[in-house]
């Protein structure tokens, strides 16, 4: 899915000046996406959906975040969850952040990097085991 302008409800930690992003496809399979800042030139995060890598990954979105992103019963099924990838030199060195996924509501084009309460979820988990 490509989304032209996504607005963050809060900036991503470490990037306080970037509020607007675009989601663009980076590969033919539709797995790798770029989460590209529209406020800083050249700032891009590579993101992936969890399903191909962590099929059991599920998150309980708290009510406050749902409200902030405008998620209700009618839009909940369309909400995108994306894991931020840290590209390593090889696939084996490449990690994803399971603790703080990006949650995007395509209907409102609002997003947030949600910090999950589960302390067992790593900030850097191998993309492929």
């Amino acid at each position: 899915m490509d989304l032209p302008v996504i607005e963050l409800a809060h900036p991503m930690p470490g990037f306080p000046d970037d509020a607007r992003f675009a989601l663009v496809r980076l590969d033919d399979d539709g797995v790798l996406h770029g989460f590209r800042s529209l406020d800083s030139q050249d700032l891009q995060f590579v993101v992936v959906p969890p399903a191909p890598f962590y099929p059991d990954y599920a998150l309980d979105l708290d009510d406050d975040t749902a409200t902030e992103l405008g998620i209700d019963e009618s839009s909940a099924a369309d909400v995108l969850v994306l894991l931020v990838v840290r590209a390593g030199a090889t696939l084996a060195d490449t990690t994803v952040n399971l603790r703080a996924p990006l949650v995007v509501n395509p209907a409102t084009r609002r997003a947030s990097q949600v910090i999950l309460d589960d302390a067992d979820l790593p900030l850097a988990a191998p993309l492929v085991a």
Binding site: H10, M12, P13, G14, F15, L26, D27, D28, D29, V31, L32, G34, D42, L43, Q44, F45, V46, D64, T67, E68, V84, V85, R86, A87, G88, A89, T90, L91, T94, N97, R99, A100, Q113, I115, L123, A124, V128
Partner: protein, 81 residues
């Protein structure tokens, strides 16, 4: 920095008077561990400072990978499927 002494059960209100006030209550003190309760409006995110710092570092590490790294990741994923 404002430094206050509080007893168990006592609170501090930050932003008092406004609907955005944050109330911090000391719940329990045991050795060098203090349990505190934070009552904040939904617009105020509350997180452990060290976790936010770790996340900022993780984001910085992930930010703007070189194009060839993205290309080789894409290729590695394709050859895997």
């Amino acid at each position: 920095m404002l430094v206050l002494s509080r007893r168990i059960g006592e609170s501090v209100v930050i932003g008092g008077g406004s609907p955005e006030a944050v109330t911090v209550t000391v719940l329990e003190v045991r050795g060098d561990v203090v349990r505190i309760g934070i009552d904040a409006p939904r617009s105020v995110a509350v997180h452990r400072a060290e976790l936010l710092a770790e996340l900022a570092d993780a984001n910085a590490d992930a930010a703007s990978p070189p194009e060839d790294a993205v290309a080789s990741l894409s290729q590695a994923l394709r050859s895997r499927s």
